[in-house]
Homo-oligomer: 158 residues x 2
């Protein structure tokens, strides 16, 4: 007698995550720190800052919730503003290698410092240290998997 099935558990927890995401994103968006770069632009700058090697557009697109063309143009605008450098990939003539410029890195640090303070204020005010650690572990586990296959499991196919 489990009360609710796994399906309900899965959907309820996902809905709760979505709600938390929306509520906190609204609060962060309301902060007066997005005058130089928008939240989406910051997302790109932050993702690039996390890696020390240049990223391909497609790699970047895996963590940024935008369509490939939209991201392509967002990066284009950041490049025009001197925050991102676009270079052809020497190992793949189709690709571009994206990296922060020095100005981009400084901008990321400046905005990141201010944003991190907001994140700390909201999250640390809501959860204990242990809860934050557990939330991190759970959400990492949630994202860190192969996509679940849709079709029925085929047994011993060749």
């Amino acid at each position: 007698m489990t009360g609710r099935g796994r399906g309900h558990l899965a959907n309820d927890s996902w809905e709760a995550l979505l709600t938390a995401h929306a509520v906190l994103m609204k609060r962060f968006a309301a902060a007066p720190i997005w005058d130089e770069v928008s939240m989406r632009e910051y997302d790109v700058l932050y993702t690039l800052s996390k890696h020390d090697r240049p990223l391909r557009l497609g790699e970047l697109n895996r963590s940024v919730l935008l369509s490939q063309p939209a991201l392509s143009r967002l990066v284009e605008r950041l490049a025009e503003r001197g925050l991102v450098e676009r270079a052809p990939d020497p190992e793949d003539g189709r690709g571009v290698r994206l990296a922060l410029t020095e100005a981009g890195r400084e901008q990321q640090r400046r905005t990141g410092r201010r944003h991190a303070a907001d994140v700390t204020r909201e999250v640390a005010a809501a959860l204990t240290d242990d809860e934050m650690r557990r939330l991190e572990a759970l959400t990492r586990k949630l994202a860190g998997r192969e996509p679940a296959r849709h079709d029925s499991p085929q047994e011993a196919v060749q």
Copy 2:
């Protein structure tokens, strides 16, 4: 000797949540079930379906990650398609009361059934029952608070 401070814990857990959100949203968006209503439109239909009383635009806007004007027009389009009903609020002449039409409710159920299957597949494949319950509890706690104040705490001001 805590290793990392609360600020780091807060930011790391928030980043992990953001990553999980982006990764799973991408997978869900890739599902072939958004031909009748888009994900954002479904978000509105779903939120309305959760409440049995009509919602005000402002209330709806608290859970939907869109600007007020964008939501106003999204609702307008849904109303034109006969999925949402907009009525003036009898208790407040400025407001509108939003509710699903019967067609809207059916559409929400149809899309919801298909989407829920995807959510179950991804989330239940990644987490145990206990983990799902813990994730739900943590994210509820995270969102279910008053916004943390920014300014310094004023003591005993009148």
